[in-house]
């Protein structure tokens, strides 16, 4: 590799171009998958539109209006064009455009996943650092147990038990929903972020109520994600610990924590970044089940409601949006990690 600035710039550009190409291809493939699913669906959208008792002529007209009489490459083209302009079809159960529904519910999921992400990043990295500094200590066992439990517990079941214990039996925390009914129907939700809207509404008690409804779902997602951050980070830190530069730094008198924080942690930065992104993307998926259990109006609950109702446009629209976020988060981080550490 050319050590001068031009080489570095060229590397940056190649990385950017290559990852942009991969991202575009992946997103296009995702679009093809959702299109294929919509074509494979046994439900007939034209029949749903005209109803069981519509005439043959109106059925044919509906098919023509929906473009169902076109050959599939043209239908794919129309579908891609529509998706590009934010047209994901009309939800069969709410009767509103899927894109508008999704815009309404997306902030809630973003809020939940982001709070859970921050919690699990702090806790996961903290646990990894402590257990790497004291291998074979209590924290080591804790990290192992947490990650085993996180990978083995059905999250929806844990959510139900937590609701039973902390809401029904002890009454410490809020129950299903994002707010108590008293607030849910009196507060405007202009932004869709429940904490922000409850805060700005100025209604007495609304903000604490929103917090008490958020604690359980966030805690569940954190418990579920913490192990997948802590364990690989710990392993990477321990692998670094055996290297010569650590020995040298220790020999020059640097304290254990200063070596860990200032030299070993930066050395694993690319891995940590990838892990955090993967966790964030997976939290978006995990939110589907958690939102369903806690009846929180987010994209996950929108998806599961659509699943119950057999609402194909809503199912595929939310799949597409979750998929795009997932692919973008992972794709962007991959190229960032590559820039941080060209070896990967």
């Amino acid at each position: 590799m050319n050590p001068d600035g031009g080489g570095a710039l060229r590397r940056l550009l190649t990385t950017l171009v290559r990852s942009a190409a991969t991202l575009t291809a992946t997103l296009a493939a995702l679009l093809c998958v959702t299109f294929a699913l919509s074509s494979l669906s046994p439900a007939d959208p034209a029949l749903k539109l005209v109803g069981e008792h519509g005439s043959v002529a109106s059925y044919e007209q509906a098919r023509h209006l929906l473009g169902l009489d076109l050959p599939w490459p043209q239908r794919l083209g129309r579908y891609a064009e529509g998706a590009f302009h934010g047209d994901l079809g009309i939800s069969l159960s709410t009767g509103a455009p899927v894109a508008r529904d999704l815009r309404r519910v997306f902030p809630a999921t973003f809020e939940l996943a982001t709070l859970a992400m921050m919690g699990s990043a702090v806790l996961g990295l903290g646990l990894a650092l402590i257990s790497a500094v004291h291998p074979r200590g209590v924290t080591d066992v804790l990290v192992r147990v947490i990650s085993l439990a996180g990978n083995s517990l059905p999250i929806f079941w844990l959510g139900l038990l937590a609701l039973y214990l902390f809401y029904a039996r002890l009454g410490w925390l809020g129950g299903p929903g994002r707010l108590d009914d008293a607030y849910e129907y009196t507060i405007d939700m202009p932004s869709g972020f429940v904490l922000l809207d409850a805060w700005r509404s100025g209604v007495q008690g609304a903000f604490p109520n929103a917090v008490s409804h958020l604690i359980l779902p966030v805690a569940l997602l954190v418990a579920y994600a913490v192990g997948s951050i802590a364990r690989p980070t710990r392993a990477a830190l321990l692998a670094e610990a055996g290297k010569d530069y650590v020995l040298l730094a220790r020999a020059t008198g640097a304290s254990v924590w200063s070596v860990v924080l200032r030299q070993m942690l930066p050395a694993t930065a690319s891995l940590v970044l990838t892990l955090l992104a993967l966790t964030y993307a997976n939290l978006l998926q995990g939110a589907v089940l958690v939102e369903t259990v806690f009846a929180r109006p987010g994209i996950g609950r929108y998806l599961t409601t659509a699943l119950f109702a057999g609402d194909t446009p809503a199912i595929l629209g939310s799949t597409l949006v979750i998929g795009i976020c997932f692919i973008l988060i992972n794709g962007v981080t991959d190229s960032l990690a590559h820039l941080l550490d060209p070896r990967t």
Partner: protein, 287 residues
């Protein structure tokens, strides 16, 4: 990792391998037997039929007659738990039976043939790996209709790439090895070479991955059941039982608690087995 497999183990090595047998593997296998054996023997172990409804005895607390209580239709929860294991384990087996061979075939072919085929298959593998698998599987079942087969198909379609990637990596290591040259010199070529000499080398890394995947397949399968996408009622299934129990959660919490606990045990068993297999390790890594 880079050495081709050794033809035989010395006795000393064999002893070390036995000693390296980890407690995780033993506990995991034990838990697995604890789930599988009662599921197979369910007709002889249960005093009640899992389908018989008795509305006079609905929502009963655990008692001697019904050790896990009865559900909303007065059916014995314990019988349904034992029979429900069949749906979950059956699905996991079905998925594994198709997912692993197809992943192996793609990976070995890509790694051995190389060239444009390798590039094409690797691109497809990476593409599927970049997708959000759980949500995509949910959408698949949601659109094509609920049922065990659609669940299995969705999990297979999203699960194979890991195996393809592992198999490709192992095959590429072997491709130019003297081990394969020796086989070729004896006239072993083509499919026989791939199946008899390349495939066995891929298996050790597979088994850890498979155990981990089975744990997550069990969780995914029960999530399908919970969302009403799995087997049709009244067939007992753990996830669907949790969904039933969640309606009376605040009064009769045990109806949801028991099936969830079994899902946890089944998934934990596979995760522990995976850890054990990883500790036990690839014999080629033994130093």
């Amino acid at each position: 990792m880079n050495n081709p497999p050794l033809p035989a183990c010395s006795p000393r090595r064999a002893i070390r391998r036995v000693r390296a047998f980890s407690p995780s593997l033993i506990v995991g296998s034990f838990l697995l037997l604890l789930i599988i054996v009662p599921a197979l023997l369910a007709p002889w172990l249960t005093a009640h039929d899992p389908f018989t409804q008795n509305l006079a005895l609905r929502l009963q607390a655990p008692s001697l007659g019904h050790p896990c209580g009865t559900d909303g239709l007065g059916r014995d929860v314990l019988s349904r738990l034992l029979y429900g294991a069949r749906a979950t384990l059956g699905l996991a087996t079905l998925v594994a039976l198709f997912m692993v061979p197809s992943g192996l075939a793609v990976g070995i072919l890509a790694g051995y043939v190389g060239g444009w085929l390798d590039r094409l298959l690797t691109a497809v593998t990476n593409l599927v790996m970049a997708f959000p698998t759980l949500v995509l599987a949910l959408a698949f079942v949601g659109v094509l209709g609920p049922g065990l087969l659609n669940c299995a198909l969705a999990l297979m379609l999203t699960g194979w790439p890991t195996y393809a990637r592992l198999a490709r990596a192992e095959t590429r290591i072997l491709r130019r090895s003297e081990y394969l040259d020796a086989a070729r010199m004896q006239g072993i070529v083509g499919a026989r070479l791939l199946a008899g000499h390349v495939l066995p080398a891929c298996l050790p890394t597979m088994q850890v991955r498979l155990a981990l995947d089975l744990a997550s397949i069990i969780l995914a399968a029960s999530a399908f059941g919970f969302l009403g996408l799995g087997v049709r009622p009244p067939t007992p299934e753990w996830g669907a039982m949790i969904a039933d129990g969640s309606r009376v959660l605040f009064e009769q919490w045990w109806i949801a608690a028991f099936p969830g606990f079994l899902i946890f045990v089944a998934s934990l068993a596979f995760n522990l087995a995976a850890e054990g297999l990883r500790d036990y390790g690839d014999p080629r890594d033994a130093t």
